[in-house]
Symmetry: C2
């Protein structure tokens, strides 16, 4: 069933009012009709099974016929602090990160970033990519997109435990870190991934001073947009979130 | 140092002759000069440290000054049998698969494939994507690209143990499979990933009849181009290949 995130105030009692892009998608792209069922998400964690009751111009009305608790959220809360990348790479990270279960994205700029600061339009587009990926991958909550901040600020704000990927780290690998007590016991993990040119030594030292753990990914060099996704996949696997419905697999 | 795969017959004694696209890349794109060093790979597993000795028109000559055993190959040999996908998605799978360590790609077509059969030009482009990703990610051997075959043939040919990703598999997850004896003991794994619309039940049954194990990836729905990469990341992690240089991490 098609899934749509809507603003919270679009749901009043059991009536849902959908306008804007989502309504256009329902009417023009998917060509859904009165009587068809959709799933509505208001970012509360609930999922509302909804029947379309009327379509007027650019507006869709629906009636909630059922309500279930969403099952699309991982138990492990991953924050991905990602350096700005060239547009298509950054968008890839957002889309795939949402599918894999990231709950929060913190874009940052650092010394070797070549990507420009995003315009307001660009940020709106990123929000849209996150929303569409969340709908498609059956997330129950909309992952957050934080404001773009300097690397140092992202380090200072990062919830612990926190990891930073660094190709010069030759002694500490992912398994060792994920099997360590702080990571085994924590229900949240923060990951820092640099720009195409990597981090400077000064940046790595700054991160370490904040208690962020440096991590190598081995002998094959992953591109900036691949590294985070590989680590997120591995964490989800380690935490039993890349498996069967009950999360055991 | 820049890395280039060249045909085996381009190396005679300690002299390397580079022509074609690779020469153009050295001369026009990277603008390397006589006296600069590059790493040459002839797909034998050796890496040749090479000094550029002359540049004539579209040809580069080099002299081998050192030879080391390549370290870019994983101990686990992953074959990715991937259904044809829309062009940009399929190319993403090839590029990221090479970075993550896939040794062989087998493209197949199945009932729900909407992507067209690739032209000769397209296949040449795929080879180029694989080569560039292998150079960039520091692989020591060039991953293979098999011919496009029907799904059933890919199943029949697949080395065991072999996995097929299926969103309707609700009881068997990745951890359970990777911790099972055949997968723990094997140095190769085959993974089947379907097209955008997934596999038909008939296809799944056919695969099962060949001994291929169905596998679910849990409550979040991954796109076709994401699913394989997530599983490969998890396998590399489980096998200690997403870690430090010696593979322990």
């Amino acid at each position: 069933m098609h899934r749509f995130f809507i603003p919270k105030n679009s749901l009043i009692d059991d009536t849902i009012t959908i306008s804007g892009d989502t309504a256009r998608q329902i009417i023009k792209v998917l060509r859904l009709k009165v009587g068809e069922n959709i799933t509505i998400l208001d970012n509360s964690g609930w999922e509302y099974q909804t029947t379309i009751t009327s379509i007027h111009n650019d507006m869709v009305l629906g009636k909630v016929v059922g309500k279930t608790s969403g099952k699309g959220e991982p138990r492990i809360q991953i924050t991905l602090c990602q350096a700005l990348l060239k547009t298509d790479k950054f968008e890839l990270v957002l889309q795939k990160g949402v599918e894999l279960g990231v709950v929060r994205f913190v874009p940052f700029f650092s010394e070797r970033c070549v990507a420009k600061m995003p315009s307001a339009n660009k940020i709106e587009r990123w929000q849209e990519i996150i929303k569409e990926a969340a709908e498609q991958s059956r997330r129950s909550l909309l992952p957050q997109l934080a404001q773009v901040i300097p690397f140092e600020e992202a380090c200072e704000q990062a919830p612990m435990p926190s990891l930073i990927l660094w190709e010069e780290e030759k002694t500490r690998g992912l398994r060792q870190v994920l099997k360590s007590k702080p990571f085994m016991e924590s229900s949240e993990i923060t990951i820092f991934v640099g720009p195409e040119g990597g981090f400077t030594l000064t940046e790595i030292e700054f991160a370490r001073d904040q208690g962020i753990i440096t991590l190598g990914l081995g002998k094959r060099i992953l591109r900036a947009e691949t590294a985070g996704l590989a680590v997120i996949s591995a964490i989800m696997y380690e935490k039993g979130e890349l498996g069967i419905i009950d999360g055991v697999g």
